[in-house]
Symmetry: C2
Subunit: 342 residues, 2 copies
Amino acid sequence: MKRTRSHITSRDVALLAGVSQASVSRAFTPGSSLSDDKRERVLKAAQQLNYIPNSIASSLTTARTNTIAVIIGDTDNPFYVHVLRAFMATLQARGRQTLTFAVQPGSSSDDAIQQVLRYRVDGIILTAAELSSRVVTLCHDRGIPIVLFNRYIPGRKVPVVRCDNIGGGQAMADALLKAGARTFAVIKGDPMGTTSQDRVRGFNDRLFEEGLRRDAVYEIEGGSTYNGAFEAVLAAYGTTKRALPDAIFAVNDIMAMAAIDVLRHKRELAVPGDVMVAGFDNIPEGARASYDLTTLDQPVAQMVEEAVAMLEKSLAADDLDAFAEERIVPSEMVWRGTILRD
Amino acid sequence: MKRTRSHITSRDVALLAGVSQASVSRAFTPGSSLSDDKRERVLKAAQQLNYIPNSIASSLTTARTNTIAVIIGDTDNPFYVHVLRAFMATLQARGRQTLTFAVQPGSSSDDAIQQVLRYRVDGIILTAAELSSRVVTLCHDRGIPIVLFNRYIPGRKVPVVRCDNIGGGQAMADALLKAGARTFAVIKGDPMGTTSQDRVRGFNDRLFEEGLRRDAVYEIEGGSTYNGAFEAVLAAYGTTKRALPDAIFAVNDIMAMAAIDVLRHKRELAVPGDVMVAGFDNIPEGARASYDLTTLDQPVAQMVEEAVAMLEKSLAADDLDAFAEERIVPSEMVWRGTILRD
DNA sequence: GTAACGCTTGAATACCTATTCAAAAAGGAT
DNA sequence: ATCCTTTTTGAATAGGTATTCAAGCGTTAC
């Protein structure tokens, strides 16, 4: 069958139902004034013609696309995959479409935003990706709300939902000290990311507060990925050259899992017997029996829920500035088997 | 700042540049006839006004959105998450937007398709989700190409890219027989999914061909998820009640990993020493040292590439029917540590 | 010098729906 | 039956861009 050039439009339906095009539009717009029998006639005609309303045309007049862009930077980290899934589910449940956009880790999301603005999305969620203050202004001037997830722009007031990363780092430092650790390694993530920076800072600061010497903490660049962390930990502790720390704190679970794999399978060491390991995020993968990872929980469902709520509040309001809130959610210790407990 | 009601349009740019609106449109349409100096003038004016072309309006006239819908059913299976990521990257690289849609596992994707058709996507990719023959007709009549990924509709000619699941199942049966296994368990996935069905069929048929008795294979419903398989395997082999098989074949890696975790951590058994385990898909997670899973590789990158190519071929053509091809990619054994080898 | 041709350009129009405005119909009260 | 209020309805229009059509212009060939 040849591709039909002209689709069925509301006018065709109107013709068949013997009403005006306006009435067809009203039949598909909840809350608009139309008599019941006419609505019924229209819907029957629509069904008969297999009519599907054209959102493109509709968006042109309403200046709303009912679409939210979700921009994600780090699809290598399962945590952000879970976040993306949660956003998709939440937005879908609220009757919105999701325009997903992945940007290369490290590169800026400016181009992506530019792209996305062409599509006149109603709002933007940005997780784990760089962005410049410039594009924030760009969106702001256009009245398009943008909510940051687990990322913020220092020195600028932008709506954001994030976890208390500094507090989490501190809590983990306390937990490991209490477990008897005195020498440490920290596996850092994206060097430019505020998330990793804050977790490391909270962790280190607390240790130094407690009187540890600066060389009690060995810092490792894990690059936020399993493979990156695996190689880095292997380079650091793959041989007996460097003395093992009492505990390793990775700023995310996936890197903690890499560390465990190196210690157990490349060095035949026991975790937590020889070295304790802790992560951050509480991804389901870390909870599995093979890892049983002690970590800090980020309440993803709640955070996503709040981010969407924040976006919708901006959507409903005329004044974007009124809602530049910052929601900081605490993270909670999840005790499992990779840290010793008395 | 208040939300600006009216955006900058091509007309505004035209006014500033001293040209017609048509010329502005041409300046942003590659391959259209416009003198260099005029194009330059337009682009300068556009930049000055922060003009971003409106894809909505453009789509209305061209009847193209440059957007592809990716519908995914099983986001619990990491394999399909990798598939989704690959699609997003591939489509993005070709300058297309991705409208992602997740449907509840088990429920049909008909509603999702209906939704997606409103947005006049140019094409649809469907992975790991049910769909009725009816909506295929619906899309077909509208001239919207739809490519199935790792799923097919028995008895209907629809463009599809999938792995040779039957052949893979057979290959795994051969491998396990050669490794000395004589009693088996099979962990099945989605009962309605052709993928799981075919893998089980290929596996069983080959075993029975080789003369095994039907009760040499114990079948387990794993539900396609880690948790589902974990519980099912625990129920079957968590105690010493039931005799252990020589080998367990899970129709996907994530369930194989669950099986390994049960055997190792709930029963203190050795894999592959006491029981061999094999999966299907070759997800990166299974390659990690903690699992080191022997499996069958699905060449995701290649399959995704081909699916998109198939879609674009349909997009370019007028006649949809000419391209209802079926591309079946072979899967290859990946020998790792969970099957004994001589 | 004229004819023929190709490239540029702008005016006008189509794309499809939501909404406004005014008219018509229906309902209610007296 | 009359007037007033409320609801329903259709005609007309806006929304922003791509494209068509015809005109304008400059070039080349003879």
